[in-house]
């Protein structure tokens, strides 16, 4: 048997302390889920019953892991203890492979260590199985599309992501192209040469210029209805200032700041509303050709073929919501601040956790449950009236 160094002994002692703390944390978390108020994501196949605390007591003599989770696919996850990890954070290995904790909605990675509740949430979200539908109206085929028209059913898909999750403009473009693919509309993502732009237009960021000229720097709303031949343009008193702190790009109370919504038919744009965009022609000299990295300083330019105006925003703190609706006859891109948007997503998640069985088309809900829920909703309505 090899002799442990003093440093190794110290790390072992530190792990022993953390082993006990994290074990308790997870027990409290699971107890809250069993008894309420903690509610798991609706439809998850990872439950508190799948967690095994006992084997770590015998198998983890070095306190390197404190609980095992039997996953629905047969693999085993272990929550690991490291003396090097930030305090209050643990790791997770699946069949011995180190995992990265991915946040909901932004899809940003927290890296290999995170609080135990973040890991538990990640595991539960990773194994949500809702009914697979094989009705005649499901799918992308022509027959399915006709079936949907007949039955007045529409296909919709919404994807969310932090802009900075993508390593470069090419990755972001691939993601958007995937969401919009059924519409036949093509998005293009490029990076603004923010320094060159700031040098050319820097003079415009004076009080005089803001009041007067420099329309190319002004934010626009460009829209066209189906029955119109020419777009209508409105001007906003906000300027593209790439020298400003990206965090100041969004007003503090704005969840959504920019958006483009497009109605299309067979790949042809029929109507659009591109709000808080910038003139593509004026921007052109400052837009980098080809794929460019998305780093903390990047300003991105998103255009959709056939629609005037470019969405321009700093990549740093931005959440993107890309949607395809009405059988791809309507697509949209919403741009907001991550901090402004996440609380709204949390409200929505909470609703789905509480109301999951009611909105899940595959769940059978007894009338008695509906009676109870109706009584609760009527009471909630009465309470809103004070």
């Amino acid at each position: 048997m090899t002799k442990m160094t003093e440093a190794e002994q110290q790390a072992g002692a530190e792990r022993a302390v953390r082993f006990g703390i994290h074990r308790r944390e997870l027990r409290v978390l699971l107890a809250a889920e069993r008894a309420g108020p903690g509610l798991p994501p609706y439809g998850t196949r990872v439950t508190p019953d799948d967690v095994d605390f006992e084997s770590a007591l015998t198998a983890a003599a070095d306190f390197s892991w404190f609980a095992a989770v039997r996953l629905p696919d047969g693999r085993t996850a272990r929550f690991t203890v490291s003396a090097d990890a930030p305090e209050d954070e643990v790791g997770c290995e699946i069949d011995g492979r180190v995992q990265e904790c991915i946040q909901a909605h932004t899809h940003l990675s927290r890296g290999p260590s995170a609080p135990v509740e973040a890991w538990w949430d990640w595991l539960q979200r990773s194994f949500v199985a809702l009914g697979q539908h094989d009705e005649p109206w499901a799918g992308d085929g022509i027959e399915a599309q006709l079936e949907r028209v007949e039955r007045n059913i529409v296909y919709a898909d919404t994807q969310t992501s932090a802009a900075r999750r993508f390593a470069d403009t090419g990755e972001l473009e691939v993601w958007l192209t995937g969401v919009y693919a059924p519409s036949g509309l093509l998005p293009r993502v490029r990076r603004l040469d923010a320094d060159a732009y700031a040098q050319s237009y820097g003079r415009a960021f004076t009080a005089e210029a803001r009041a007067g000229d420099g329309p190319s720097l002004m934010s626009l709303g460009v829209s066209r209805q189906r029955d119109e031949s020419e777009p209508t343009t409105v001007w906003y008193a906000s300027y593209l200032d790439t020298t400003a702190d990206p965090a100041q790009w969004f007003p503090a109370d704005a969840r959504i700041w920019q958006a483009v919504r497009i109605f299309a038919d067979g790949g042809t744009v029929e109507a659009f509303d591109n709000d808080r965009c910038f003139d593509s022609g004026e921007l052109a000299p400052y837009v980098r050709d080809g794929v460019a990295p998305i780093d903390a300083d990047a300003w991105l330019v998103v255009e959709i073929a056939g629609v005037p105006g470019a969405q321009v925003f700093p990549a740093a703190d931005v959440m993107l919501v890309a949607a395809s609706d009405r059988d791809a006859a309507e697509i949209s891109l919403e741009v907001g601040s991550i901090d402004g948007v996440l609380p709204l997503f949390a409200l929505h998640d909470g609703f789905l956790r509480r109301w999951g069985p009611i909105v899940d088309p595959d769940a059978v809900v007894p009338e008695a449950d509906l009676d109870r829920l109706e009584a609760r909703v009527m009471q909630q309505i009465a309470e809103t009236r004070g």
């Binding site: 039955r151 007045n152 919404t158 969840r255 919403e334 709204l344 997503f345 929505h348 609703f351 999951g356």
Partner: protein
């Protein structure tokens, strides 16, 4: 069931602009149940629109407005839902 939401917190669960079918007006998933309840909702411009729903989705629609919409927008329930009940 869709986990989607809109950044502005607007409701996405009821189609006000038609749908037009004889079934339940819930749009987050296919519902072929016969409507038994109604919701009368305001439409920009002062008009109103009535959606017909099955009981399940009627309850979910009311609850979404209380638990999500009203948490996001400072609006009174009676301004959000003009009328509601059984058919």
């Amino acid at each position: 069931m869709s986990a989607a939401t809109s950044l502005d917190g607007s409701d996405t669960d009821i189609a006000l602009d038609g749908g037009g079918g004889p079934g339940c007006a819930w749009t987050e998933a296919v519902c072929t149940a016969a409507p038994t309840h109604f919701l009368t909702l305001p439409v920009p411009g002062g008009e109103s629109s009535t959606a017909l729903l099955c009981r399940r989705h009627w309850l979910a629609s009311l609850a979404y407005r209380i638990e999500v919409t009203m948490e996001v927008h400072p609006v009174a329930f009676d301004d959000l839902v003009l009328d509601y009940g059984e058919l």
